[in-house]
Amino acid sequence: MNKKSKGLLSIASALLIGVSLSSSAVLAAESGSNASSNIEEGKKLSFSRPKGNCLACHMIKDGASPGNIAPPLIVMKARFPDKKVLKDQIWDASKRNPDTSMPLFGRYEILTEAELDKVVDYIYSL
């Protein structure tokens, strides 16, 4: 977690409750797209076995038979005040933990950039 910006951003994140995240840096890149449909699509991608398959390892609300390899994906905004840090984790988990058991979704092109952004939006909404 990005400690320097944690305090400041958790205040910011309190203001960002819900799906109105369009001011965040990540979403700014895809202005014009609909935030709530991004989250819907992100959920599909996250649950889909050939795509995110996050449920293989993470407990996620609404997800059937999750694995328990990894921490449950809950209260993400409180734990990831900086959305960029969340995106980095999903893009290349080996940066934070070289021995990670998490696939490198961005770096190994398991998800495209657009797909990954949707997954980030969805996970951030949890």
Partner: protein
């Protein structure tokens, strides 16, 4: 640590360790055992011959129910028939394997003359070829009958893979297999160890991951998913594909060396094949 060593002594594994001349593979095996003992306190080492059912209590119940009418029984019977059936030239498997069929415990082994790891499946086909018979396929089909019969007959024997330390070729094959096991591969970027060491006991979706220790004791395995008995190399293929890695050839050098390493890790564990799995 004292407790660990005590346990090792109790299970007799330290004795084999001390009398073994092959320091490096033996150290690897001891390290894996220590890891497993710390990760699964209170579970007897012998239990690991049962794969994930050593600790997956829910899965174990249905497994035990399945074992009451073993789905591999037909394969064992068919294998016995094949074993006893003479080749066209009048000879039989018994001419190749004097101690047969109780031989599974000695495979795989290093063959100095051929300069390669010989697995039981390969040895069976070498026997067939030497007697003018067509070789069997290595993943599916009737080779599994032969392996089931031999595996069943060898139940109760202890895995006893010998790695001649003085033989550079044998050591290289072992190291190669070990490296394979710990190398990340595929788009999903997993090594065998990611799942079967680091995450042994954890659930990936609804599957409880088995520990590498005991992986080889019960092959071939009847899998409900396959609806048939399949070989160890078929399982390797599946596990490689799962992480979107290109599988290697069954009985090719990579998988044979992997089997050499992986089976050595189970030295001292009782053979209890064929197995039944989900």
């Amino acid at each position: 640590m004292n407790k660990l060593i005590l346990k090792l002594i109790l299970t007799g594994l330290l004795c084999t360790a001390i009398s073994s001349a092959y320091a490096s593979p033996e150290k690897d095996r001891e390290a894996l055992i220590k890891y497993v003992e710390v990760r699964f306190p209170g579970i007897a080492l012998e239990e690991f011959a049962n794969g994930a059912y050593a600790y997956d209590t829910v899965g174990r119940e249905s497994w035990e129910a399945i074992e009451e009418f073993p789905p591999y029984e037909i394969a064992v019977d068919d294998g016995q028939e094949m074993w006893e059936q003479p080749f066209a030239n009048g000879k039989s498997y018994k001419d190749c394997f004097a101690d047969g069929p109780v031989i599974a415990q000695n495979y795989p082994h290093w063959d100095k003359k051929q300069g390669m790891v010989i697995t039981l499946a390969l040895a069976l086909n070498q026997c067939r070829k030497a007697n003018g018979e067509k070789p069997l396929k290595y993943k599916k089909g009737s080779i599994n009958n032969m392996l089931s019969y031999i595996s069943f007959a060898s139940r109760g024997k202890k895995t006893n893979v010998v790695i001649p330390e003085a033989d550079a070729g044998a050591m290289a094959a072992y190291e190669d297999g070990k490296k394979f096991f710990y190398t990340r591969r595929g788009q999903l970027n997993f090594s065998c160890a990611t799942c079967h060491v680091q995450n042994a006991g954890n659930k990936i979706r609804s599957e409880t991951l088995s520990a590498a220790l005991g992986h080889t004791t019960h092959f071939p395995v009847y899998r409900s998913k396959w609806g048939a008995v399949g070989t160890l190399h078929r399982r390797f293929t599946g596990c490689n594909k799962q992480v979107r890695a290109k599988p290697f050839k069954a009985q090719g050098e990579e998988y044979r060396n992997l089997e050499y390493f992986l089976t050595y890790m189970s030295n001292g564990l009782e053979l209890n094949g064929p197995g039944a799995r989900k």
